[in-house]
Subunit: 185 residues, 2 copies
């Protein structure tokens, strides 16, 4: 399977493409960063992120896209930009009918280093080793995007089994609509 | 000037088009809600928001788009969806080269009711009166979208003067790049 990992951000959006299957050596097909100028207005920055992601999808034709799940525990300003950049990446993939998976930072760290609390250097070191690179990819956002893609390849078999089970279950019993709590967005 | 107001949301995205200039009676050209199913995956919902906004832009050809500025003081889950829906609306407008303005909820309330802490009913009542409608637009998201458009029409002259002043200033002195604090998104 070929996976595009996206570490979303407005200033630097990390992107990395990894091919392989769980239990076999993985291959890096590309890594980079989509940058947008911090002094441009939000609309132009989102258009630039869209153009960048589209180029990566066109060039590498991934079958899956893995995007970091955004939480708002951090700096509010930063989180809004990250949420908006992630929306653009998810939109680009979904428009093409590509399945999009969201993984939390700790899922990604745990997948590649064995610890959900690993630091950037540890993640970079493991990405370098797993993809047999000469040096850790720079900046950290690029390494994180590769880690997301690796995490997705390794977690995918379990996730796919869950999805298949859910689909089978949905066919055998009438669907139960979840009642959202509070006012929906 | 013709303005599309967007009250962003994943479940209900309010949209309203108002034409007019400050100091003259305003005209409503359209109002509605772009809805996406709460049980669909995030990617499909963002694609549905994009399709909905594109239809409104195609049909009404606004010259400006006014979007509610999202803060994260509320429910974290809700805010993420709102930020992502707003990113799609801003992206759609910017792709067409339309200027996008962000107004805070209290700016909008203050513009149409005179108080930044007005409730939904008050905003609905003033929108009804200002646009000479037979009844308040339902749901509240639709009324809020019209209020955003009205706010933009009334604030635009001042904002445009500020932008012109900033542009003049930028031509007369060398630009100073802001140094972002902490790790940028």
């Amino acid at each position: 399977m070929r996976v595009l990992g996206v570490d979303p951000g407005l200033t630097r959006c990390g992107v990395g493409v990894v091919e392989g299957v769980a239990g076999r050596p993985l291959t890096m097909l590309g890594v980079g960063v989509v940058r947008t100028p911090a002094d441009a207005d939000l609309g132009r920055r989102l258009v630039a992120v869209e153009e960048g992601i589209e180029r990566w999808l066109d060039e590498h034709r991934p079958e899956y896209v893995a995007v970091e799940r955004v939480f708002s525990q951090h700096n509010v300003r930063t989180v809004m930009g990250t949420a908006q950049a992630s929306a653009v990446a998810i939109l680009c993939a979904s428009r093409r009918g590509l399945p999009v998976a969201l993984h939390t930072p700790s899922e990604v760290k745990a997948a590649v280093t064995g610890s959900g609390r690993a630091d950037k250097a540890q993640v970079g070191a493991m990405v370098t080793r797993l993809l047999r690179l000469a040096a850790p990819p720079k900046p950290a956002d690029a390494a994180d995007a590769l880690a997301l893609a690796i995490c997705h390849i390794w977690r995918a078999p379990a996730q796919n089994r869950l999805q298949q089970a859910a689909a089978l279950h949905a066919r055998s019993v009438p669907p139960v609509r979840e009642v959202p709590k509070g006012r929906p967005a």
